[in-house]
Point group: C2
Chain length 389, copies 2
Amino acid sequence: MSKEASERKAEGKKTYDLHIGDLNFHTAPQIVQATIDAINNGKTTYAPPRGIPPLLETVARVVGEERGIHYSPEEVCIQPGGKPIIGKFLHCVMNEGDEVLYPSPGYPIYESQIDYLRGVLKPYVYRETPEGFVLDLEQMRSQITPKTKALIYNNYHNPTGHASSDEEMAAIAQIAIEHDLWVLSDEAYFHFVYDESKKNRSIAALPGMKERTVILITTSKSWAMTGWRVGAALGPKEVIDMFAKLTTNDEACTCHPLQWAAIQTFANPEVQALREVMFQELKARRDLIHELVNQIPGFSAVLPPSTFYTFINVTKAMEILHITDYEEFRKRILHSTGVSFCTREHFGASLEFETQKYIRFAFSGISQTDIREALLSLKKFMDSAQIPN
Amino acid sequence: MSKEASERKAEGKKTYDLHIGDLNFHTAPQIVQATIDAINNGKTTYAPPRGIPPLLETVARVVGEERGIHYSPEEVCIQPGGKPIIGKFLHCVMNEGDEVLYPSPGYPIYESQIDYLRGVLKPYVYRETPEGFVLDLEQMRSQITPKTKALIYNNYHNPTGHASSDEEMAAIAQIAIEHDLWVLSDEAYFHFVYDESKKNRSIAALPGMKERTVILITTSKSWAMTGWRVGAALGPKEVIDMFAKLTTNDEACTCHPLQWAAIQTFANPEVQALREVMFQELKARRDLIHELVNQIPGFSAVLPPSTFYTFINVTKAMEILHITDYEEFRKRILHSTGVSFCTREHFGASLEFETQKYIRFAFSGISQTDIREALLSLKKFMDSAQIPN
């Protein structure tokens, strides 16, 4: 999609980037300055595979405080982004033929990594209700067998924007404990929660969970640093030791000067204040999309309590256009309106029992002005499609 | 060793770092400035998984010109360092149970990655002659079976400092072609060749080799950027496409602002001039070590034609000290003289037919003054050890 969108722009056609989960915000100047200082101070040599000690201490302290869990620096491994943690987690906890529960729709790397490592795909699903999406706990339970080894949980969820209630999170923890599962808690969107009652929750903080959970954090989304590639895994020491060993063999270390800069990312109050400014802007975009998208014939969306995504039910819109194929729908809209987005199928293969069709709008990389224009363009197109020829 | 050396220093004991293959040179200011410019220009978002087009073009052109090979940008994949290329190469070309030839002694990651991916270890060896090390082609040939799939070749070789003659390289190419092997050509030390007749050689440039070879390059050593983590794989498009797919799943991309800086690394003439200054200093260190080490009882070393390592025969020194175990020898010397180094066993498991004992001195991170002191300290220790009590 990025390529298609770029090609359209190169042809001079107005294109609205609602497909990308990247951010149109600048990285904080304090982080930039810290990078420059680190380079000038000669922090350009190898770093320890698990990360530089002051960053390990900072991450252990800040991530622990935010979630109400105690972590020591020995329970942290710095990584070149959040993504490497997915593969490493699976390398650590599963063997060929083991089953892994993961969200579908979900971040596509879960499915591709489980599959690549010859695990057995066990997707669990979300149901849309008038109050928002809920995780289908019954369906999740039905997927579990004695060969199920791990559960990937992405609260605050890409692409639905779902945030678990305390009850739902407790039920998932219970399932993990009951079936002795390792849990990867992908917390990439931890700082993007609009519903106060659902903020600052980590499943690792629940009783019996810390010892079986690896938390994935990343600077990518929270601080508009997607291209910097700095993240961290937090978990039981024996797993983190394995992460360090894998890092020694796979990458040597995470970029050394950026690790010094990352201390500012986590610990500098001015940087957190800038993050709050970005958060408020994202909230305004979310509210604007919610208002406008529900005025478009065939489009309906619940208000996402977290992330910077809106998962939109387009079952009726596809019926109006007499389209059953996701790619055909996506391309028709893109070429008719300039609106670029992802469909459900960018987040794992569709499951056979799905009856509703969804697309995802990302509002991380688009201004409110362009959101208005994009959704007006879309509305015009769908309004005219409704009129019989 | 790094930990032991650090602990000694913390206790106020003078320690000579001859163990580390890291560099005590500053990264060129042009590269630093390009990093700052890239950050300020907003190059902080995701980059394409294979790398930014201008860097792909630069790497294809410069690496090709240096070696006399034509590469197109589609045959390049930027990586977060040289190391990730080893694992990815093996992921691409071998399956469980396949045999892989690799140098022993050699960079330890070859052995650990082949083993981790359940390949069969097929070490090939080097023989010491009065003229230097030579690769034992007969022994290499004897290791090959119909299950041999790949050959890892590290010309300019860590830890021996060996550089192939044109005849030796041609013979290796012939073996690869005859047995239809994939080749990983680890060229991390490409710019550190002191013997003019062996400079600028890549096995990929030989007839029939480009289509079966992946070249590993890295900014780490050539430009004193070990902690930056920028490297690149060059090879046939179908393999590079697989590298890009693995990168999408494993890392997303290599750090975006550093990719803009890396263009300077490869293409800026001022940066290459600074590399030449570093090279001349390393050459002086090499010559100094060569002169001094051969004056130490029980130590003998041939002059390395490449890299920044000297591989020292200590068979007699161990006999003088009545030590048969490498670790005991290393620790005795470290604690008696402050000289910190790696032994043969840091570069893969010793092979049963080995009769000679070796250690490696790295002269990349130590001044000439400290080299003199270190080798004087070592000489005094060995001189006194020779005198019967």
